[in-house]
Amino acid sequence: MIAWLTYVVVGLSVLLCLAAVWYAVRDRLIDDRLLVVAGLLELALVVLLVTGLVGLGHITDSAERATFVAYLVSLPVIPPGTAFLAIKEKSRWAMGSIAVGAFAVGVMSARLLQIWMSYA
């Protein structure tokens, strides 16, 4: 469950990151289409959060569990946060905010899966 959910999250974050870079190159501002992708990513992250918290006992080492929970809880904050900044910022850099945020989501969720898998 965690594994394929993470794949979905990584896929969506890569998509969002590339789309944001494309928008930046074309000098376009945030629009509904991009927000829908960010929204889907957010939805997947919330599902991942709930699933991860439910299955927390799976990770027996407390230090690894601390990292896992910290990332799990941080992740759903990122897409809305970067979208908010992107809406306020009316320059090309707004898309940079979305792209960097999406990249961070991809890396952090990959790290989550790495921790999870080490307790398989």
């Binding site: 000098d27 407390s62 230090a63 569990r65 601390a66 990292t67 929970v69 910290a70 990332y71 809880v73 941080s74 904050v77 990122i78 946060g81 970067t82 900044l85 992107a86 306020k88 910022e89 009316k90 320059s91 850099w93 707004a94 940079g96 905010s97 960097v100 945020g101 961070a104 952090m108």
Partner: protein, 154 residues
Amino acid sequence: MPEPRPTPSSPADRRALGGPGVLLVVVYGVLALAATGRSVLQIGEYFSRAPLAYVLSAVAAVVYVLATWCLARGGPWVRVGIVACAVELVGVVVVGLASLLVPSAFPDKTVWSHFGQGYGFVPLVLPVLGLLWFRRVERAAAGATVETTAPTAD
């Protein structure tokens, strides 16, 4: 050709946001979130395992939160932000060195251990970028105060 947009913000209000600063806010924000969450759990669940490392992690987390806030707010916070970034830079260098020279003092890792290696050296690069950005904001503000006499709302 798309028609040119008006410049996002006048430099006069010393906004740290606007332009590349927004990227710094995002990176700092993410680091602040992750570091704070991890720190709270480390201290709450098994503080005795490595007290020094966890106190340092907590300090780092607070500094990241502060720096994020200063970057996002700008204005009078620019000065505070400079101090925060400087503390960070000193922290990552000192803790980085200490973790290599006296590894026994760090049974568990902190954000700053080994110069932030666990975080792709982002903690080492970030304060430098932050300081450069704050300096740019300061300069723009100083230039604007000389040029314009119009009152600026904060």
